[in-house]
């Protein structure tokens, strides 16, 4: 039986639950790469081009770790979610870059809603490539999607309830693949929780509400994930105490979208850019002074 490798980076933070449920139901064994460590990041830096963004370098590192531990590696390609809902061009190119840099079997699907290529079609394609029967795939897909919908609804409710808490609230504007990554953003979350601060995540709002609200700050936005971020800012700007912008070094959409948001918001904000050589001590000093400024519990 062939095993599927799932790199714990980039797409993992959007689709991991669906993939896991889907593969579990079909009884296909899979390997997930470990949480990012210095070794994986170094591997990525060695392979990749030196101007690539840190998140993509990290992704390539994960694939390099997985390449001789499984038969297939799952690398999707995401282009757009309908008109005016593009993704970053690195998401477009990820599949081709991986295929050219590594000599491995790639399991892939394409999401391009403008041309009718949906997640459903993509997962069906994967199931067929792994020699599963049509009705089994259909059941597995239904199982995965229903579970995912429940999970997303729960997340929305949790995030909205957080807005009502009496503690100091900080909105972190970032892409999930930077924020939840062990090497890139996890330390920041840990530090904030240690200092008794309620964190609100931009990716856990209902996109149907936030995407429309994003027009308030930025009219011609057409990157889907930037829409999520800026919409969340517009949604809860008057309910929070401060905003932290977190982006990886040369992030293309963030360099423009975050800059516009910073010029329009009226709340105090902190702009953190993670580099491949940045240490947490440097970030810690900046976070500490930011919390001082907000008058958080660190003052007492």
């Amino acid at each position: 039986m062939s095993t599927v490798g799932i790199p714990r980076s980039l797409f993992y933070y959007y689709y991991s639950n669906i993939w896991k449920d889907f593969l579990d139901y079909l009884k296909i064994p899979y390997v997930i790469s470990p949480k990012t460590n210095q070794d994986i990041l170094n591997r990525g830096m060695k392979i990749s081009n030196d101007e690539m963004c840190l998140s993509l370098k990290n992704y390539l590192g994960h694939i390099d770790y997985l390449k001789d531990k499984c038969d297939f590696i799952l690398v999707p390609r995401i282009s757009n979610f309908k008109k005016d809902n593009q993704t970053c061009t690195n998401f477009w190119a990820a599949y081709d870059i991986v295929k050219n840099l590594f000599d491995i079997n790639v399991l892939h699907y394409n999401i391009n809603l403008e041309k009718g290529k949906t997640l459903k079609k993509g997962l069906y394609k994967i199931g067929k490539q792994l020699n599963k029967k049509h009705h089994a795939i259909k059941k597995a897909y239904k199982y995965a999607i229903i579970k995912e919908k429940k999970r997303i609804k729960q997340n929305h409710i949790i995030n909205l309830n957080k807005l009502k808490v009496a503690k100091t609230k900080i909105l972190i504007v970032s892409h999930p693949y930077n924020l939840y990554d062990e090497m890139l953003g996890k330390d920041i979350i840990k530090y904030l929780i240690k200092n008794n601060i309620e964190i609100i995540y931009t990716d856990k709002f209902n996109p149907k509400i936030t995407n429309n609200l994003s027009k308030k700050n930025f009219k011609d936005l057409y990157f889907k994930y930037s829409k999520d971020n800026l919409g969340a800012i517009a949604y809860c700007e008057d309910k929070i105490d401060g905003i932290i912008f977190l982006s990886s070094f040369p992030c293309a959409p963030d360099s423009l979208a975050n800059e516009i948001a910073m010029r329009k918001i009226k709340k105090p904000y902190l702009n953190l850019v993670i580099d491949d050589s940045s240490s947490f001590t440097g970030l810690e000093t900046r976070l500490e002074s930011f919390l001082d400024m907000l008058g958080g519990p660190i003052n007492d």
Binding site: E51, C88, T89, W92, A93, F218, A252, S255, L256, I260
Partner: protein, 354 residues
């Protein structure tokens, strides 16, 4: 009277100026000052941290135009983050205290006639649509003719016997193009100048070096932003092939994409944003058609091209052709580029002798 201005890109300010000044009778079109090192300094000062270099150039030119009292600035959009330029630049200029509007004519890489009509009405509500169509037809023809002549110059300028003859004639041609009134006149002058260009004496040896230039569109088309790379190559007596020009971007890109995809399906399956996929196919074309080397240029932090670079590297190593990568920033030193070009040229010569 409202005053319109637009940022520079190569010699294309002549057709753009022609079009705008003919459509809007009651407005004045301001010719932006030529890009100098002061422009890029101004642009860098007010730009965000890790933005690509075209943003800095266009922002610098916009500030210089606003100092000449322009009211409306025109910007184009594209498939990558290029489409975000206009709103952010408007915001930056507002914060600097200028009163202006930035209009983004193309959004998401596809020109939409309804949208353009809406925007043009903002400049002059009473503009005539038929006139606009007629003059844009002439403009597109002018762009096409300029591109054809530029391609001819690029192939021959390295081998001219009398130095500067191509450049002088081209400057003459641009001056006559800027005074043209109708299509017949344009076609006649184009034919006259094409004849003149063909008559310029060149000495082309059989074993000449041939180089293809590929890369990001703004850097490749604006000679100041690539530190006059083509001129420097011409000094080494090299024949230059370049694919990207405005005519290609406007009319050929959509048609040629499928062809390119079929041609280089071993290397990419999906569109990679902006010109990345095109450049991969061109790289394969150059390798297969007897070119001696490839130069890939881009502005720093251009995301689509960064994605294409590992694939271009792979193609070049399978065909055993040398590639030179340039990444231009506002702080790039000209001497550094010269040294690298010289070394590249020496290497090509040595390979040829073998």
């Amino acid at each position: 009277m409202t005053k319109i201005a637009f940022p520079h890109m190569g010699d294309y300010y002549i057709p753009a100026n022609f079009l705008l000044s003919h459509i809007f009778k009651n407005t004045e079109v301001i010719k932006a000052p030529k890009i100098t090192s002061k422009t890029i300094e101004l642009g860098t000062k007010y730009s965000p941290e890790f933005i690509c270099t075209p943003f800095k150039y266009t922002l610098g030119t916009m500030i210089e135009c606003l100092e000449k009292n322009a009211d409306i600035l025109i910007q184009m959009g594209g498939g990558c983050r290029y489409g975000y330029y206009a709103p952010l630049q408007e915001e930056i200029l507002k914060n600097l205290g200028y009163k202006c509007k930035v209009l983004n004519l193309v959004s998401e890489g596809e020109p939409n006639l309804k949208r353009i009509n809406k925007l043009l009405k903002k400049i002059d509500p009473k503009y005539s649509k038929i006139k606009a169509l007629y003059y844009s037809f002439i403009t597109f023809k002018m762009v096409k003719y300029m591109d054809i002549i530029d391609n001819y110059i690029r192939e021959n300028i390295g081998f001219e016997i009398e130095k500067g003859s191509f450049e002088n004639l081209k400057n003459q041609m641009l001056v006559t193009f800027s005074h043209i009134k109708n299509y017949r006149e344009l076609k006649r002058t184009y034919k006259r100048y094409l004849n003149k260009f063909h008559k310029i004496k060149v000495h082309k040896p059989d074993n000449r070096l041939k180089i293809g230039i590929i890369g990001e569109l703004y850097t490749i088309m604006e000679p100041f932003s690539n530190y006059y790379l083509e001129k420097q190559l011409a000094q080494y007596h090299i024949e230059i092939k370049r694919f990207t020009n405005v005519h290609y971007l406007l009319f050929e890109k959509a048609k040629k994409y499928k062809k390119y995809q079929k041609y280089s399906k071993d290397y990419f399956t999906y569109n990679m944003g902006a010109d990345a996929a095109d450049n991969i196919a061109r790289c394969k074309y150059l390798c297969e058609n007897g070119y001696d080397g490839i130069i890939h240029i881009k502005s720093s932090f251009c995301t689509p091209e960064i994605g294409a670079m590992p694939i271009i590297n792979k193609i070049a190593s399978t065909y055993q052709k040398p590639v030179l990568f340039f990444s231009f920033d506002s702080a790039t030193s000209e001497t550094g580029i010269k040294t690298r070009l010289e070394a590249f040229y020496d290497m090509l010569e040595m390979r040829k002798e073998k």
